[in-house]
């Protein structure tokens, strides 16, 4: 069970980073002056 949860978290982390840096949504690009895009 621990293994399943851990590997689901790994997949989610990869998807998040891909969405953030490789395929950013339009909303991410249109940040205002206080966007906190780190």
């Amino acid at each position: 069970m621990q293994e399943i949860i851990a590997y689901i978290l790994v997949v989610l982390a990869i998807v998040f980073l891909l969405k953030k840096f490789v395929f950013p949504s339009k909303k991410d690009k249109g940040c205002s002056t206080e966007c906190g895009c780190h």
Binding site: Q2, V10, A13, C31, C35
Partner: protein, 702 residues
């Protein structure tokens, strides 16, 4: 948005308190500052005007007129010329500063001539008495033929009256021009212009011709006719000049009857303070002293909460390890997620202190004096005084700083500022500097009161600023871009900082850092843990081979376990990656583990510390080295000495001072310059500089 909502556009000169009023009307907490250029993009919020009536309020960038000279000002013109029923404003709320009413009314007179229902809000009326100003409000309303409300957005005075005036103005839905430029300048010329289109007012058509800004709704035929008016450019310039003169004549006439300034009642503290703050010698001395106090405080005040956070995360990790059943998820939590997140949270005290000081300087009005003071220096290096705002905002994050360059009217100066702003030490560099300084610089006082660590941090900020202006000078001499330059800056009044504004500013910026960086670091920590805890065939055989060699070396159980962990990391996927790049970074003094942190922090610099925390957590199994600082301090190099010694620490700090390790900044530079050329030049130029400088630093110091 409901159909019945009133669309209100908030327009005014820079630094008249538009954003403060926007926050009061909408209940939002957009950033406000006592310096011009805080708003460079439009922002929207909803305001409840009455029990049955809502309004959509749009806060537009500050502008002195609707003849734009920079990118942020052109947003105002575009919004006003829109004829889209969903987007064009129903009511314009012009915000004016009571002390500079004459100049503020120029913009008001232009907007009034667009024949859109307009309310004039005269802000900062709490200063009227001190400045010896009195206004005949009823006569002013009559002369301007509009709703005029006296407000103090900071003190929440007059907000209810503004809401009522917006409703009245919307219901009346009538607006007449104030100046009627056509009759006074050239009646025949303007009569012909008006005949082009019945859908636009005369002044809208005039703006399209003079500003070359045509809305999408205009027909091709109408546009061609308007372009014909542009052919006689000398006539256009002459009429524009006359227009401004007529407007000021009209404004003077009105203000002579309604606006009185009694200089005998005014107190001139501002003048005295300005003499000191903008003095050609004392001004710089004072600014340097303020910076010194800020960086001393960052180390002195933050050390106790930082140690507390570091120890707390170590305890959480221990607690989790001893209370959860052994397994992969427990390892992920204790070696990946908890140390990774700890690597962000630990820097909250330092970041909050830095933002607190910057917010206070902005709120008091001192920042505009810094802009004025620095203009002379900036010009020598190919920028202008307005470049100081992006460079100072860059201490928080390069992204809003690069967007703030929209206030710079000269394209060449703007481009140079965009390209050099990432040299400014941003909050993402602070964690790297803070941890490395704590490791390599002794915590001692010089002259009994100056903290050495604080001085080194100040030097790194100075290095960032110096690099920015030297790079600007080189770009100024090499870039072949023609553009005109001028510099106008609003000198706001000095104010006691509003604790509410300062508080929200610190909270918002710290939140942006923690959540923005935290999400990325959390995700990277999980992936790093996976890559560090798995590997190919050699990874799987590590335990067996270590046990075989351990038998010959007479190692005890603890030493065997440490060796297994270390060899496993070396043979893991991440270990193989680190080992591959090691030859390239070895001349800089870095080992393969630091190399991994360099790769992961390409996305965002602040990931560096979190990455090392995760790598060392996977490797170490020593109960005495639980905090991030302890883990880094206990790392040894091949010779058995400390890995993070003085040459390596300095080399790393120099690397991060120059390297462009931020993908989000590259994306924003691409957006602002509309080309990949500039972000790529920035990326490779800064990477080359970082490599060469850190190589020299390490080789000289070691």
């Amino acid at each position: 948005m409901s159909k019945n909502d009133i669309k209100v556009a908030l327009i005014g000169n820079p630094n008249t308190g538009k954003t403060s009023l926007f926050n009061q009307l909408t209940g939002l907490t957009q950033k406000v500052g006592n310096y011009p250029g805080v708003t460079v993009d439009k922002k929207e919020g909803t305001s409840k005007l009455s029990a049955t009536q809502n309004a959509i309020i749009t806060d537009l960038p500050g502008t002195y007129s609707i003849n734009p000279t920079s990118l942020d000002e052109s947003i105002v013109l575009k919004t006003l010329l829109k004829k889209d029923i969903k987007e064009s404003p129903d009511v314009i709320l012009v915000v004016a500063d009571v002390e500079n009413l004459k100049r503020n009314l120029l913009l008001f007179s232009q907007i009034k001539d667009l024949e859109i229902p307009t309310v004039l809000a005269i802000n900062m009326v709490d200063q009227m008495h001190r400045k010896g100003i009195s206004i005949d409000l009823s006569l002013l309303k009559k002369e301007l033929n509009t709703e005029v409300i006296l407000i103090s957005a900071r003190k929440n005075e007059g907000i209810k009256e503004i809401k009522e005036a917006i409703i009245r103005c919307h219901v009346a839905a009538k607006a007449s021009p104030l100046c009627g430029i056509n009759h006074k300048i050239d009646p025949d010329y303007f009569h012909k212009l008006k005949e082009i289109s019945p859908n636009y007012t005369l002044y809208e058509l005039w703006l399209m011709v003079t500003q070359n800004n045509f809305p999408e709704t205009i027909t091709k035929e109408e546009k061609e006719k308007l372009l014909a008016f542009k052919q006689d450019t000398s006539k256009l310039k002459k009429y524009q000049h006359k227009e401004t003169i007529y407007r000021y004549q009209e404004i003077n006439k009105i203000l002579n009857k309604t606006y009185i300034v009694d200089k005998t009642k005014a107190t001139d503290l501002r003048g005295k303070l300005d003499k000191i703050f903008t003095h050609k010698i004392f001004g710089y001395v004072l600014f340097s002293f303020i910076l010194l106090v800020i960086f001393q405080s960052i180390f002195d005040l933050a050390s106790v909460p930082m140690d507390f956070i570091d120890a707390t995360f170590a305890q959480i990790s221990d607690f989790t390890k001893s209370n959860l059943p052994k397994g992969v998820l427990t390892d992920l939590l204790t070696e990946g997620i908890i140390p990774g997140i700890g690597g962000v949270i630990i820097f909250i005290p330092q970041i909050a202190i830095l933002f607190l000081f910057i917010a206070i300087l902005e709120e008091t009005g001192y920042m505009s004096r810094v802009v004025f003071l620095m203009d002379k220096i900036m010009r020598r290096f190919g920028m202008n005084g307005k470049s100081v705002i992006p460079l100072i905002s860059g201490t928080a994050c390069a992204i809003p700083a690069i967007m703030a360059t929209r206030t710079i009217s000269s394209w060449k100066e703007r481009l140079i500022t965009i390209l050099v702003t990432p040299f400014t030490t941003c909050s993402a560099r602070l964690p790297i500097y803070a941890i490395l300084i704590a490791l390599i610089i002794p915590d001692k006082k010089i002259f009994g009161f100056l903290n050495l660590q604080g001085l080194v941090l100040l030097s790194l900020y100075a290095l960032g600023f110096a690099s920015a202006i030297i790079a600007a000078y080189i770009l100024h001499k090499t870039l072949k871009v023609e553009s005109k330059s001028f510099f106008v800056v609003e000198m706001p009044n000095y104010k006691l900082p509003s604790m509410k504004n300062v508080f929200f500013d610190v909270i918002e910026k710290t939140k942006a850092f923690v959540f923005g960086a935290g999400k990325i670091i959390l995700a990277l920590s999980i992936i790093l843990w996976f890559l560090a805890s798995n590997g190919g065939a050699s990874y799987k055989n590590v335990e067996k081979s270590v046990l075989e060699t351990a038998a010959n070396q007479h190692l005890n159980e603890d030493e065997i376990q440490q060796k297994i962990a270390s060899k496993k990391l070396e043979n893991s996927y991440i270990g193989i990656l680190g080992k591959t790049i090691e030859p390239a970074i070895r001349p800089l003094g870095y080992d393969w583990k630091i190399g991994i942190a360099l790769i992961t922090s390409f996305a965002a610099r602040e990931v560096f510390v979190g990455t090392l925390a995760t790598i060392y957590s996977v490797e170490a199994d020593d109960e005495n080295t639980t905090t991030i600082k302890q883990k880094m301090a206990s790392e040894v190099n091949e010779t058995g000495g400390k890995l993070f010694n003085f040459p390596v620490g300095m080399s790393l700090m120099v690397f991060y001072a120059f390297a462009m390790q931020c993908m989000a900044t590259l994306a924003i530079v691409k957006r602002e310059t509309k080309s990949w050329k500039w972000p790529l030049i920035q990326l490779f130029g800064m990477a080359f500089l970082a490599y060469v400088c850190s190589f020299l630093t390490y080789q000289i110091l070691s």
